[in-house]
Assembly symmetry: C2
Homo-oligomer: 345 residues x 2
C-alpha cells in the first residue's frame, strides 16, 4: 500500500474539493492509503456525503491553516499545527511515502526544504509541471519558479531530476532533454545558458538534444525542457494565457448568434476531445523534485478531479522509485563534476 | 507620399512573396511609394505577372544577398551591395522614410545600428512584435530578443519606445504598460526586474500598471509589456508553439473520420473567424524601435499578405511621427534620470 499524506486545507476550494479528490483517488487506485491533515469536523462533514473505503483513509486533526498571502518562511516556522506543516512532519517521520498539497507554493517549497529536507547532493530543488503538448502527451518543464537565479550545476540537476521523474512515474524510457534558450545554435543565450548547454552536452545518463526554443515546449518531440526558474515560470504562464485566450475566443465565436450556437452543438464532441488533449488539470500538479520524498504541488485552484490526479501522480512516482533514481543520478553527475574540477577527467 | 524602401531579397520566399506583398500594399494604400532593392531581373519577372501603379514603385538593382545563416556583423560589413545593406543606405541618405525587411534578424539589427544609427539617447534599440490577444487587438511585447542582457534604464527606454509606437502607429492614446515578471508583487523577480519595476513606477509619460505575469501577455487589458530580450523571446515563441499546437490538434480532430469532417464544414466559418482573431501575420512584423528611422522586421517566412501588412505598418508609424515621439520621450526620461543622479530630484 502506497501511503500519501494530504494537506486537506490548502487551496482555493479546500477542504471540499480536496476531500472529494481523495474519495475519487481511492476509487481509481486500490493500492493507496490516504492520511488527511486538516480540520477534522470539516473533513468529516465533507466525507459524510460520499461512499468510500474507510479502511484506506485516516484523518489527522490540525488547528491552523497557512493562507495564500502569508510570508512562507514565517508561516512555516510559526504555524506548527497547520495542515501543511503537520503533513510534512508526518512525511519526514516516515508515516507516509508521498505528499500532496494545493496550498501556497511558497509554503510548500519552504516546508519541503525546512521540514523534509533535500536529497543529499541536490543543489536546488525544483518545480516541474507537465505542459500538455500537441502529441497528446506532456512536456516536463523544470524549473518553473522555485529558483529564479540559477547556476549551470543547478540546471544539470534539473535535467537529471526531470529525467528520473519521467522515467519513474511515467515509464518514458529515454526522455529527450532540451535546454530552453532563445535559439538552437550553441552560442545562443546568456552566459548561464551557454555554460549550461556545454555542461549538459557532456553529461552521461541523459538524452540531451541541445538548445530548444520556446515554441518547442508544446510543439516538438522533446520530453524534458530545462529552464532557469524565472524563464520557466514566464513560459508556463504565457502558454496558460494563450490557451485561455483561444478558449475564450472559440467560445465567444460559437455564442455569437443562433446559427453559430447551433453549430456549436454539432461540434461539441470534437471540442471536448480537443479540450481533453489540452487539459493540464488531468496531468495533476507540479512535482517538487529534489526533496528526500515525493511531493506534488497541486494547482491552487484545484478541483477534485485535478487533486485526484495529483494523488495518483504522487503514488506512481513513489512506486517507480523516483527519489532513489534521482539520488543515484545526481550522485553520478556530482562525482563526474568533482573529477573534472580535480582534473582527473 | 510616404516612401518605404524594401529589402526584396530577404526571407524564405524572397523575392516572389515580397514583390507580391509590395503589389498588394500599393493597392491597399494609395499614399505610399516603394523602392525595391534586389536583383532587377528577378524582381521584374515577378512584377510582370501583376497589375500595379508603376509610378509608385522603383527598383534599385543589387547584386548580393545576405543569407539567414551568415554571421550578421561580417555579412553587413562585407556585402556592401546586398539588398539589405543598400536598403539601409538609402534610408540613411534620406531617399526613404521607412524600411521593411524580412531577412535575417541579426543582419537587420546590425545594419540598423551600424548603417542607420540609433536615436540619440536611446541606450539599446529593441524588437517589438505585436502578439494577438483575446480582446481581438494586440499586445506590444518589447524587447523580444535584440538585447539579452538588460539594465533598468534599457527597460525604461523599452517602455517609452513601445508606448510611443502604440500611440503613433495605432492611435492607442494612453497604452497600459506592464513589466513581465514571475508575480505581481513588488518584491518579485530578479534584481533587474525589482529595480526596473521601481524605476518604471516613478516614470512620467507612461501609464505603468506594475508587474504582470506571463498569462497577461494574451489574457489581460495591458497594451505594452516590457521584457528583457531573453525572456521576451522565450515568451513570444512559447505562445507561438501553443497556438500552433492547438491549431494542429483542432485540425486533427476534425479530420478524424467522415462525420467529423462533415462537422468541420459546418464550422468552417467560425474557425476562420477564430483564426483571423489570432492571426499574427495580419499584425505585420516586429518594429525595430530606437533607430533614427522607422524599420520593420517582417517574419522570415513572410508570405505576401504578411509582408504587405509590414509595409503598411511602417507607413503608419512614419505618418504618426513615431521616431520624433520616441526621441522626445526618451529625452525626458534621460533628463529626469540625470537630475536624480545629480540629486536634484
Amino acid at each position: 500500500m502506497t501511503r500519501i499524506v494530504i494537506d486537506a486545507m490548502g487551496g482555493d476550494f479546500a477542504p471540499a474539493q480536496q476531500v472529494l479528490g481523495c474519495v475519487q483517488a481511492l476509487k481509481q487506485d486500490k493500492d493507496i492509503y490516504l492520511i488527511l491533515c486538516g480540520d477534522e469536523t470539516q473533513i468529516k462533514k465533507e466525507l459524510s456525503q460520499y461512499d468510500y473505503d474507510k479502511d484506506r483513509l485516516e484523518i489527522v486533526h490540525t488547528t491552523e491553516v497557512i493562507g495564500m498571502e502569508e510570508i512562507p518562511t514565517k508561516a512555516v516556522k510559526t504555524k506548527k499545527d497547520s495542515s501543511t506543516v503537520v503533513a510534512f512532519r508526518l512525511l519526514k517521520e516516515d508515516k507516509a511515502d508521498g505528499l500532496v498539497s494545493s496550498g501556497s507554493t511558497g509554503a510548500v517549497l519552504t516546508a519541503g526544504v525546512l521540514i523534509l529536507g533535500r536529497i543529499k547532493g541536490v543543489s536546488r530543488p525544483a518545480l516541474c509541471p507537465i505542459i500538455p503538448n500537441y502529441r497528446g502527451s506532456g512536456t516536463f518543464l523544470c524549473d518553473c519558479g522555485a529558483n529564479l537565479e540559477c547556476k549551470p550545476i543547478n540546471m544539470a540537476h534539473f535535467a537529471v531530476m526531470a529525467t528520473a521523474y519521467a522515467q519513474a512515474a511515467y515509464g518514458i524510457e529515454n526522455p529527450k532533454v532540451g535546454l530552453l534558450n532563445n535559439g538552437t545554435e550553441e552560442h545562443k543565450g546568456l552566459p548561464l545558458h551557454q555554460e549550461s548547454n556545454a555542461m549538459l552536452s557532456k553529461m552521461d545518463g541523459i538524452n540531451y538534444v541541445g538548445n530548444v526554443e520556446g515554441r518547442e515546449i508544446m510543439y516538438s518531440d522533446v520530453d524534458v525542457i530545462v529552464a532557469d526558474g524565472f524563464t520557466g515560470n514566464i513560459a508556463m504562464k504565457a502558454i496558460e494565457g494563450c490557451a485561455k485566450s483561444i478558449g475564450a475566443i472559440l467560445s465567444s465565436e460559437f455564442k455569437r448568434n443562433f446559427w453559430t450556437k447551433l453549430r456549436a452543438i454539432f461540434t461539441l464532441g470534437i471540442m471536448k476531445k480537443v479540450k481533453k488533449r489540452m487539459d493540464y488539470e488531468a496531468c495533476g500538479g507540479a512535482m517538487f523534485l529534489g526533496l528526500s520524498k515525493t511531493v506534488v504541488k497541486g494547482h491552487g485552484n484545484s478541483k477534485a478531479r485535478s487533486f485526484a490526479a495529483s494523488i495518483l501522480q504522487a503514488a506512481n512516482a513513489v512506486r517507480g522509485g523516483m527519489v532513489e533514481k534521482i539520488k543515484a543520478m545526481v550522485d553520478e553527475v556530482n562525482a563526474k563534476q568533482t573529477a573534472e574540477t580535480n582534473g582527473e577527467a
